[in-house]
């Protein structure tokens, strides 16, 4: 099994506060890796460091080594990193003034792609991958992204990320604002997507982690306490703190 993301001694700060205290993690390629832990443990900060979104906060900075497919992400322009590492956020955030089509095409269009045939193809393919094509194919250019339901919006955001053909997809609690049916659709999607790309998913829902991810990392107060195969984490954790968390004793 090859490694898609290699994290070495990653530290992150908000102003003077250190939020991550040196994380080491090897994330397996074409598998899903879940990141769990109580609120404020640094799990969102961690995945936001993997595509350099962390530093878009003016007070934030990060240090350490993150290699994605051999590329040191802190040694190349952030824009190049983000094209290879897509991100889906907790709250669906389609571009409110754009049609469904333009939402999906945005990443390509705004990076200079003009060929309509290519765009049409990518939009259709991405929406199909995100299991949204059948629901929106007749209103692609008529309806705005913001007019879809919450679950559809989140799948639209996934399609939008897929359109730029990333190697890694980061998902920051992608289903925490959705109803059970929409959540199930997102989880099915993760199953499909990880055939071709690497997924790192932050979740508050431990059942979700055990359903979708082969590997799980448990974060606590800015440190990676334990990182192993998911079934090991949930059935036979090595660390007492992991056990306390998954059995609901805190967090």
């Amino acid at each position: 099994m090859s490694t898609a993301v290699e994290v070495r001694n990653l530290k992150a700060w908000f102003g003077p506060t250190e939020a991550l205290h040196g994380i080491d993690m090897s994330i397996a390629s074409t598998h899903a890796t879940a990141v769990i832990g109580p609120s404020g443990c640094g799990k969102s900060t961690f995945i936001r460091c993997l595509n350099r979104m962390h530093e878009t906060n003016p007070e934030a900075r990060a240090e350490g080594e993150v290699k994605i497919g051999g590329m040191d992400i802190y040694g190349v322009p952030a824009v190049d990193v983000r094209r290879r590492v897509g991100m889906v956020f907790q709250k669906a955030n389609p571009f409110p003034t754009m049609s469904i089509y333009d939402n999906v095409a945005a990443g390509l269009k705004l990076n200079g792609m003009r060929d309509r045939r290519v765009l049409d193809e990518v939009v259709e393919h991405s929406l199909q991958q995100a299991a949204l094509w059948e629901e929106v194919k007749d209103v692609l250019k008529k309806k705005s992204g913001a007019s879809l339901s919450g679950g559809q919006q989140q799948r639209l955001c996934i399609a939008r990320s897929l359109a730029v053909d990333p190697e890694v997809l980061l998902m920051d609690e992608p289903a925490s604002a959705l109803d059970p049916i929409s959540t199930a659709k997102i989880e099915d999607l993760i199953f499909e997507l990880k055939q071709k790309l690497t997924i790192v998913i932050v979740t508050h829902n431990m059942q979700q982690a055990s359903r979708v991810a082969e590997f799980t990392g448990f974060f606590l107060m800015g440190s990676l306490v334990e990182f192993d195969r998911t079934e090991k984490i949930f059935t036979n954790p090595s660390d007492k703190r992991t056990e306390d968390y998954i059995t609901g004793r805190f967090g």
Binding site: D80, R82, F89, N93, A106, L110, K142, S144, S161, V164
Partner: protein, 285 residues
């Protein structure tokens, strides 16, 4: 029954405050309606075809119009918008995107102060900057004066509107690997578009009726002028000149001019909003 009494009291209070809010809204709308109605009553009589096609005639000669003033106003406003709107929007973008920088705070403070500078002073500045340099009055000088007045309003309203765009939209764009400048131009500005246009239209409407900055810049002109480099008539100037004149005929024309000016402002702002907002998708709100 105390319960019944309390219910009645609540109902009366409800009627009272609903009525109060309603009647105060009528006052607000009423002011505009009253102004407009009065302008129509006093001015509509002097409106005719030649008002819109002819320049003024000499005193004592009946007829004539303010066609040159209408054209002049449009020209000055166009010049003002060409300079004022891009500068204002660019400054607003700077404030919204880099607002915590020391220079940004200075820019914001300056814009607020500039907003409060009396328009006659702005006129003097344009006089000093353009008229003295060129050694003659011109439509261009008037446009520069009005542009200076538009900039702070456009800047601050653009900043406000951009800050209303949710952080999530910025993150979505940056997360796709879209460069910062592209995100700002194609996503953030597009999202805030309707608010920015409203701000620009407010600034436009405000300066469209300004007289003081034009007195010694555009200067006014009794004749046709089509050159931005020459003194030019403007509706507010013409209204001012006519209103303080001793001639009844000119008074009537001043009222008509005021009516046309108001219609011009309302018409332009409505048309621009319509043109720019029409392409917004039906479902998007």
């Amino acid at each position: 029954m105390p319960n019944k009494y309390r219910k009645l009291r609540r109902q009366l209070m409800d009627y009272f405050f609903t009525g109060l809010a309603g009647s105060l809204s009528v006052v607000v709308v009423g002011a505009l309606v009253a102004i407009f109605a009065y302008l129509v009553i006093r001015g509509a009589g002097a409106l005719n075809f030649s008002f819109f096609t002819e320049p003024p005639r000499p005193v004592g000669e009946a007829g004539g119009g303010m066609a040159n003033g209408i054209l002049g106003s449009l020209m000055i406003l166009a010049i003002a918008s060409v300079f004022g709107v891009p500068v204002g929007i660019a400054a607003g973008v700077y404030l919204a995107e880099f607002g915590r920088h020391r220079l940004a705070k200075l820019v914001r403070f300056t814009a607020d102060v500039l907003n409060g500078v009396p328009s006659i002073v702005i006129g003097l500045v344009a006089y000093g900057l353009v008229v003295i340099e060129q050694r003659h009055f011109s439509a261009f000088a008037g446009g520069v004066g009005l542009a200076i007045m538009m900039i702070p309003t456009v800047t601050r309203s653009t900043e406000e509107m951009l800050l209303l765009v949710p952080q999530a939209v910025r993150e979505a764009a940056l997360g796709l690997g879209i460069p910062q400048w592209r995100t700002t131009v194609s996503i953030i500005l597009a999202t805030a578009r309707s608010g920015i246009i409203t701000g620009v239209m407010l600034a436009f409407a405000r300066v469209a009726g300004e007289t003081a900055p034009l007195l010694f810049t555009a200067f006014g002109n009794q004749f046709w002028s089509f050159s931005p480099g020459q003194p030019i008539a403007a509706l507010p100037l013409q209204i001012f000149t006519y209103a303080i004149s001793p001639f009844d005929e000119w008074h009537r024309q001043a009222w008509a001019g005021a009516l046309v000016l108001v219609i011009l402002i309302v018409g332009t702002t409505t048309a621009v909003r319509f043109l720019f907002l029409r392409s917004t998708l039906g479902g998007a709100r």
